[in-house]
């Protein structure tokens, strides 16, 4: 079993989560400007999972993510200014503006590439694991994907190959739909895990809203992958954020107000249930305070620090020019 995180580690987890949230809120603001041509698939509500998993990986572990990738980039240390610049198509973006919001990539932060083809990350991550195995490295491959991804045949094929070839890969499934239901998944299985389990892959299901639980489960899973060289399927149960709409840049639950962590009575509106029960950030802040790991004031100070960093990121991104049209045809071949 995973060791208990230190208080410093837990606060650092919360900070990571706040960075992820405030970043996505900024993306939403950018999306509201109409100057922006992309569609947003935000990681809001997935932060506890993303931050916790990222915290147990080493920089050498090779990560493949999806259209819903921003959170992981931030969680693994990509520069928020360059990430936002990329989403805005600017020259100083992580991908030089060529990728956009669905394809943020940062090799230095351990990302291989970000595919927006449903199932893409799963197939590519087994390749990363194949390389790590052949090169006798301790690093692992990680595939992040959603529940809907299990509908795609490539996902099944990649699970199968990871299992028969014993590839060191973490299959990290963020389930933001009720099991087996729309919006994203239409799998006939009783539970998503039944599919990897049928392929003799070890499966773990965890409450994705609880950063400590995810951290513990991910620590164990990653340790087992490194020792056995075999894949593990780790599923985080999440509740879709009410603002998850790729075309409507709105804040249906409001801009995150951290004081709601301890002033629960003030939570209101149509989507109060999400904020009350499913917002992993609020839940973690509340818990840390309740367990006296930190104080309300410290958390609010942390948040202000994070907000300032994100504001600086926005300023950086906005100051970055668009790439020159004359570079449009660069990089066709390596």
């Amino acid at each position: 079993m995973a060791s208990q995180p230190t208080t410093a580690e837990r606060i650092s987890l919360l900070e990571r989560m706040l960075m992820m949230r405030r970043f996505e809120e900024e993306v939403l603001r950018v999306a509201q400007t109409h100057a922006y041509v992309g569609r947003q698939h935000l990681h809001i509500g997935h932060e506890a999972t993303g931050a916790a998993v990222a915290s147990v990986l080493t920089p050498e572990d090779l990560f493949h993510t999806t259209h819903r990738n921003h959170g992981y980039l931030i969680a693994r240390g990509a520069d928020p200014g360059r990430a936002l610049a990329e989403i805005m198509g600017r020259k100083d973006g992580l991908n030089g503006g060529r990728g956009g919001p669905w394809h943020l990539c940062d090799r230095e932060a351990g990302f291989q590439s970000t595919s927006a083809m449903v199932g893409g990350s799963v197939g590519l991550a087994i390749g990363a694991a194949f390389a790590m195995k052949k090169q006798k490295k301790k690093a692992i491959g990680v595939a992040h994907f959603g529940d809907g991804t299990l509908d795609e045949g490539i996902c099944f094929e990649a699970f199968n190959m990871a299992s028969i070839f014993e590839l060191p890969v973490l299959f990290l499934c963020e389930n933001n739909a009720k099991e087996g239901q729309r919006p994203s998944s239409m799998l006939a299985a009783k539970a998503l895990r039944d599919l990897p389990a049928a392929l003799q892959i070890e499966t773990v299901v965890v409450d994705g809203r609880d950063a400590d639980d995810v951290r513990a489960a991910a620590t164990d899973a990653v340790a087992r992958i490194r020792t056995t060289g075999k894949p593990v399927f780790l599923q985080a149960q999440l509740e879709r954020w009410p603002g998850s709409h790729q075309l409507k840049p709105e804040f249906p639950t409001g801009v995150t107000d951290l004081t709601l962590a301890w002033e629960e009575g003030r939570i209101e509106g149509k989507h109060a249930d999400w904020t009350r029960a499913h917002d992993g950030i609020r839940l973690y802040a509340k818990k840390l305070v309740a367990e006296k790991a930190t104080s309300k004031e410290e958390i609010l100070a942390l948040d202000r620090k994070v907000i300032a960093r994100i504001e600086a990121a926005r300023a950086f991104a906005e100051a970055s020019p668009f790439p020159a049209p004359s570079t449009a045809t660069d990089l066709a071949f390596a």
Binding site: G89, G97, R98, G99, H103, V118, Q246, L247, P323, T329
Partner: protein, 323 residues
């Protein structure tokens, strides 16, 4: 005649066939995209709920289900999302739908429309911007349609659904809001006929799908310079209306092709080849091809714009030919 949008004309054709043929079924979500026309599709789906099937994200088996059902006597319309996603079903479209009729010695028929949106859409980046029409055209047994205006889409779609052949239907989201006069009654436009969208005598601009709009805009620019451009909308890539196309080239002696796909082995290449084969003697100038630059579509708006064909580029090329 009523003035309608392209999206409404699509709905007209589908409604007509849903009413006429209880064996006509639609598989897929988002058949009118997400850009402001989807309510028409929702209304249709509401009225004919039992004729719509919302599949999982499994493009291969979704296409297969459509093909198998068509073989069994249904007429099918399978929406595959973007052209990029259709790559997930290329095996089914080409190796199954395309070959079945011939390979069975004519026993099997596969009346399916495979519908998708191609091209540059603004922010589609490298994985949501594919224009696969030429790839499909390089295969046997599949018809490939790319209408441009409301009147054409209504008549061609009806003809395609009533036909007995698998049809790749490559729409462009940017066309959905185009308006035009549409006959109220049901009618069919035979597949495989090009349409001269604007007559001219100095240069032929041959294009399809959204590139026809750019070509018409280019013709306007050229007119200001006293150059009379003929714009041929091929409408159907397979079968290709060689007669109409070569007649225009022979008449004007000059050819510009316009394509939203990459140039290599494109529809524009095919039309240029046709000119070299069948109208070489009448060519008064080299052929010019305008196409999307051969690089994965970059996200950044100025880069996407830079790689896209534009009316000004077409006009400039035509002007060079006229000399």
């Amino acid at each position: 005649m009523t003035v309608k949008t392209y999206a409404e004309a699509v709905v007209d054709a589908l409604t007509g066939m849903l009413k006429a043929d209880p064996n006509f079924h639609i598989i897929g979500r988002g058949i009118l995209g997400h850009g402001g026309h989807e309510h028409h599709a929702h209304a249709l789906q509401h009225d004919f709920a039992d004729r719509f099937t919302d599949p999982p994200t499994s493009e291969g088996a979704t296409a297969s289900m459509g093909i198998g059902a068509a073989m069994a006597g249904c007429r099918m319309f399978v929406h595959l999302g973007t052209g990029s996603f259709s790559l997930e079903a290329f095996n089914q479209l080409i190796n199954e739908a395309g070959v079945a009729h011939s390979m069975s010695g004519g026993q099997v028929r596969v009346p399916v429309i495979f519908h998708m949106y191609h091209g540059l859409r603004g922010g589609g980046s490298g994985q949501h911007s594919l224009s696969p029409q030429a790839m499909f055209a390089n295969n046997a047994g599949l018809k490939v349609m790319q209408p441009t205006c409301p009147r054409d889409v209504k008549g061609m779609l009806r003809a395609a659904i009533k036909g007995n052949t698998p049809v790749i239907w490559v729409d462009h989201a940017a066309l959905l809001g185009q308006k035009g006069e549409v006959p109220d009654e049901d009618y069919e436009i035979p597949l495989g006929k090009a349409d001269v969208k604007r007559e001219g005598k100095d240069v032929s601009i041959v294009a399809s799908s959204r590139a026809v709009l750019w070509s018409l805009a280019a013709a306007d620019l050229l007119a200001k310079d006293g150059i009379s451009a003929e714009v041929v909308d091929i409408r159907s890539v397979v079968p290709l209306d060689e007669d109409t196309i070569t007649a225009s080239i022979r008449k004007t002696g000059r050819l510009v092709t316009v394509d939203e796909s990459i140039q290599m082995c494109s529809v524009g290449s095919e039309i240029a080849a046709l000119a070299a084969e069948k109208a070489q003697a009448q060519l008064k100038a080299p052929v010019a091809r305008i196409a999307r630059a051969a690089v994965p579509v970059p996200f950044s708006p100025p880069l996407e714009k830079a790689i896209s064909p534009k009316p000004e580029m077409i006009a400039a090329a035509a002007k060079r030919l006229v000399g």
